[in-house]
Amino acid sequence: MGRVGFFTDTSICIGCKACEVACKEWNAVPEDGLAFTGMSYDNTVSLGADTWRHVAFVEQRRPLGHQEPGVGDMDFRWLMASDVCKHCTEAACLDVCPTGSLFRTEFGTVVVQQDVCNGCGYCVPACPFGVIGKRESSGVAAKCTMCYDRLGDGQEPACAKTCPTDSIQFGDLDELRERAERRLGQVREAGTASARLYGHDPGDGVGGMGAFFLLLDEPEVYGLPPGPVVTTRDLPSMWRHAGVAAFALLAGVTAMALPIWRRRG
């Protein structure tokens, strides 16, 4: 099996949250609070241990492509986007996990083994996208598995299956990347010049994302980091600095006890 992924085309997302529901149902993800946030139609707020798909709602006073406002010049556009774990090529969560609980599957996805995780929480601040969290009820880390069980059975993930507009598309990653390029051309041609791809480039800071997006505005507008870099890219240098500091500490303490100080006490 080659590497699979998601291409989430936010230009056709209608904000129905069917993906959120399908994910919760299929994966038996616990409810995590029903609160009114005042953030447009978004009461889900963000990804975490108990939210594996999150639909963002952004209201902007600007036109979408050639669209006519209808009411004078009152421009308005909706940006809706279903966010998910990126299943990074260079996944920080997986790199830093000290138990080997997080692993790379035969589909190229990143999955937590619930029975190995000891709840150390290291993966949580390591993820540059704020995806993974520690579940209160079980004390272990949890995030999107890209429906590992369904993939093993030749089924597409629940969110992609349920998405009524095909905003979430599942498939072979290389094929999705080609399709996304074509789609970007199409959307731009149709008048939305602000369209761009996010996470499709294997040369980016996380080596390309297994789940990537077509966005209509800057990533940060949707709550995505504009230039994420896997934290372990700097780790060799971190180890070197820590090593030098350790030697300096050893040498420093030793030097402070040498007899040359004797006379002065």
Partner: protein, 326 residues
């Protein structure tokens, strides 16, 4: 196994499927500005981009302090042992033993499933400072315990001596790996400070161990402790200053931190008092030692909180990345 919407079964090839829809393409094509005078959207309702570390402050910041104290105390004990300062060596060994106990308690207490602590020993991953740290502690812990126990019980002096030296050699790794541990995250103020953080931690650990040596060992033997504290406090302050300068706007949470300022002030004051009046007066040495210990604790808690603050404000994530991209 690729996605398809199978609700529409007409199969009419000329019909556009949903995924081909082009929102915004209708409407008369008169020129309209894409963006008028526009509000800048640089975050999603001000929500953080990152998920906040689940680490409890008293556990993990406490561990940063205790681990540093244990590691540097072992090194000080070994050096004292080898230079004929038995009482300073004893202080270092016992301090390391107690701090190590506290460290283990904090670390295990912070796990979501403490009974699975042992799962860390399944693997050795150099990409995970926590994994490396577990193995460093596995090498260091038994030696520190052995050194402390031999001292307190008065038995097996030769084994105790060997363990003292072994723990002293491993101690600096215990004191500094924690810098790599917190820097190897996406937390902006920690990650970007990775060049100075190990030196800051080494300095803070030395200041704490020196302070404890000063506090508990007799004046006649505490010379190395006083000098170690002075050197440690100086290194800690220089590293902190350099880090703040290099981080530019990202250093805001560090600069704002009263804990960090208090930590610096206490460390420097304690170290200076130690090498001056602390040489002659027992009372002054105790006060200076206590100030150094408090200073080191303040520094660790300050670093911890500043990191949390930088993770919780999207501007530190977004603006820093934008700057790098531009």
């Amino acid at each position: 196994m690729t996605s398809q919407t199978d609700v529409r079964l007409d199969g009419a090839a000329e019909l556009r499927t949903e995924r081909e829809a082009t929102p915004g393409s209708a409407g008369d094509r008169r020129e309209r500005p894409e963006a008028g005078p526009e509000k800048v959207y640089d975050s999603y309702y001000g929500r953080p981009v990152l998920n906040e570390p689940t680490w409890q402050e008293h556990d993990i910041a406490g561990y940063l302090f205790l681990g540093g104290l244990a590691g540097a105390s072992s090194t000080l004990a070994a050096v004292a042992e080898l230079t004929g300062r038995p009482r300073l060596a004893r202080v270092g060994r016992v301090a390391a033993l107690c701090a190590l106990g506290g460290s283990f308690y904090s670390l295990i207490h912070d796990l979501g499933r403490p009974e699975r602590f042992i799962n860390m020993l399944r693997v050795f991953k150099v990409t995970s400072p926590m994994s490396v740290g577990t193995w460093i502690l596995t090498a260091y812990g038994p030696q520190a315990v052995c050194a402390g126990a031999a001292d307190l019980s008065g038995r097996l002096p030769r084994l105790g001596r060997a363990a003292t030296v072994g723990a002293g050699l491993a101690g600096p790794a215990v004191a500094t790996y924690t810098a790599a541990l917190i820097c190897d995250t996406a937390v902006p103020a920690w990650h970007e400070g990775f060049r100075e953080m190990p030196f800051l931690f080494a300095g803070s650990a030395a200041a704490a161990a020196g302070g404890l040596g000063m506090l508990a060992a007799p004046l006649s033997e505490a010379g190395p402790a006083r000098r170690v504290a002075m050197l440690g406090a100086a290194v800690e302050c220089v590293a902190a200053t350099r880090m703040e300068r290099r981080l530019g706007p990202l250093a805001e949470p560090l600069k704002r931190s009263r804990l960090l300022r208090a930590g610096e002030a206490l460390s420097l004051a304690g170290a200076l008092a130690g090498v001056t009046v602390g040489r002659r007066s027992r009372i002054a040495a105790v006060a200076a030692g206590a100030a150094l210990l408090a200073g080191s604790a303040c520094t660790r808690f300050g670093i911890f909180r500043a990191g949390m603050e930088s993770a919780n404000d999207p501007k530190y994530t977004v603006q820093w990345q934008r700057r790098r991209l531009s």
